[in-house]
């Protein structure tokens, strides 16, 4: 198995606030990992620091052997687009999407690679197969959709290109249980070969038994996974 993501000694934070404490973490090809932990314990920060979106960070992040981390203290977001183009797709928490675009336009935004842009019609179709409710909303403005539909659009955007690592941040946040289940089902149904997925979730029950590995996150450190297994 290939190692897709390898994080070593990652510390990150915002200004004087340190959120992540020397995290070591790795993701293998074909893996589906649940990142669990309460609000405010660094799940989103971990994902965002992979995307180079936090205030400062320090430590090594290797994506398929290529260093995308390093020490950095300003210019959040400056390298993000390059990381996205390497093949990391992040669905941010909440509705960080484009409210004034139609669903179709919004999905097209995800198609950043040349190939994806050329095939955007087919790919949109494929996303709509995954999230059938979007099909009839194709020309509706995203700002007018319901929460669940927006989440589908947001996740769908991440699926538009051939990313090999999907980081999905809190897909169930603020959604009715039934709808969040549907969103997660769609995610679990995605093919696994050659790709990996990390889902951050507060609600452990939603992921139980559906992921290959569950990693706890607590106070800026990883828990669970390493602790139990290695020592017992």
């Amino acid at each position: 198995m290939h190692e897709i993501l390898k994080i070593e000694g990652l510390s990150a934070g915002y200004g004087p606030l340190r959120v992540l404490h020397e995290i070591d973490f790795s993701v293998q090809e074909g893996e589906r990992i649940g990142l669990v932990g309460l609000n405010g314990h660094g799940k989103s920060t971990l994902m965002r620091s992979v995307m180079s979106l936090v205030g400062w960070q320090n430590g090594s992040i290797r994506f398929k052997g290529q260093e995308i981390g390093g020490a950095r203290s300003t210019g959040a977001g400056r390298r993000t687009h390059a990381i996205v183009q390497l093949g990391v797709a992040l669905t941010p928490q909440g509705d960080a999407i484009f409210p004034g675009m139609t669903v179709a336009q919004h999905l097209d935004c995800g198609a950043h690679s040349k190939l994806a842009w050329r095939q955007r019609a087919q790919r949109r179709d494929a996303v709509m197969d995954i999230f059938p409710p979007l099909r009839k909303l194709e020309s509706a403005l995203v700002g007018t959709l319901s929460g669940g539909e927006r989440r589908m659009v947001s996740v769908g955007r991440a699926l538009m290109t051939e990313a090999s690592l999907y980081l999905i941040d809190e897909p169930s946040l603020g959604l009715a249980p039934k709808i969040s289940k549907a969103v997660l089902e769609a995610l679990f149904a995605l093919p696994k070969a050659g790709k990996a997925m990390v889902i951050a979730e507060q609600n452990v029950a939603l992921l139980a038994g559906r992921v290959d590995r569950m990693v706890g996150m607590h106070a800026g450190r990883l828990r669970g996974d390493v602790g139990h297994v290695a020592l017992s």
Binding site: M51, V84, Q85, A96, M101, D108, C109, G110
Partner: protein
């Protein structure tokens, strides 16, 4: 309304529209109020004038003085105006966007930087070209054309047609092309845009260049009726700004509508004998202020609302 007034109004609307749309696009996508738009206008005028000095004898030697020559000259003028405006836009990107776009209070900061650029450009133009105004070659000729029995001055016709075409191209480009989609994405959510693999830094460059080019074109077109001077940009800037405001900053349809309204207002007030030209500016600003007090977001402004709600 007489036909003269109609044409005059359309002509003014075209030029104001070019300025206002540039300001509007730049505000909504990059989040800066470009006070150097007037400087872009003046600098492009001078660049085109400089090009015309070189190109005129060359074209005359090559094509003579026929229709070919005047078309070639016109194309050269428009191209040089667009080009100079785009280059100046790039300069604004380098000075007023790149170094400060990550700092706090970018909107006010960039406003100040562009003001400084405006101040400096006017003085530099004055220093290098002197106070004398300069004439650009008449790219549409001096005659008039009859359309549907209405005699229209060639420069007015040319301005209206060229602007309408260009605006159509810009609007379609923004709507259909990939770059346009990227710009829209950046307008609505810069972080979402980076997560879609769009570099905010480098998407801002084409935007500043595009709006600069629009100002450059406006300079060429307006210089068909008035002349190029270092301070020529001040009035188009103020009018463009207030029209963009009237249309609701960031809304392209709003800006176009605002330009048409203001253009016709100017033409009509100017043609009413007891009001006359001297009340034109007065009535325009009064109108804009009234509209804004009634509708604080201007005529359009939906986009800006979504922007606000995201920031909140």
């Amino acid at each position: 309304m007489s036909t003269v007034t109609l044409i005059h109004g359309l002509n003014l609307a075209a030029i104001y529209g070019l300025m206002a749309i540039g300001i509007s696009i730049l505000w909504s996508s990059v989040g800066m109020i470009n006070m150097a738009h007037g400087a872009t206008f003046a600098a492009s005028g001078y660049a085109a004038w400089q090009v015309s000095l070189i190109a005129q004898p060359l074209i005359a030697a090559w094509l003579g003085t026929g229709l070919d020559a005047s078309i070639a000259m016109g194309a050269t003028m428009i191209a040089s105006g667009l080009g100079a405006g785009a280059i100046f836009g790039g300069l604004i990107f380098l000075l007023a966007y790149l170094p400060i776009h990550e700092k706090a209070n970018f909107a006010v900061r960039s406003l100040i930087v562009t003001l400084a650029i405006n101040l400096a450009t006017v003085q530099l133009l004055l220093y290098f070209f002197g106070p004398r105004q300069r004439a650009l070659p008449k790219i549409f000729g001096l005659g008039r054309t009859e359309i549907l029995g209405i005699p229209i001055r060639n420069d007015q016709l040319g301005t209206i047609v060229a602007t309408a075409l260009l605006m159509l191209v810009v609007v379609i480009w923004l709507k259909r092309s990939r770059k346009g989609l990227e710009i829209t994405a950046m307008m609505q959510n810069p972080e979402g845009a980076v997560l879609s693999g769009i570099s905010v830094r480098w998407t801002a460059l084409p935007v500043t260049m595009l709006t600069g080019a629009l100002a450059g074109l406006a300079a060429i077109l307006l210089s068909q009726t008035v002349f190029v001077s270092p301070t020529a940009g001040a009035l188009p800037l103020i009018k463009g700004l207030t029209i963009a405001l009237l249309g609701g900053l960031g809304s392209i349809p709003g800006a176009i509508m605002g330009a048409i309204l203001i253009g016709f207002l100017e033409a009509i007030v100017g043609s009413i004998s007891f009001l006359g030209q001297r009340y034109v500016l007065f009535s325009q600003f009064l109108f804009i202020i009234t509209v804004l007090i009634i509708r604080p977001r201007g005529l359009g402004g939906l986009l800006d609302q979504t922007r606000e709600s995201r920031n909140a």
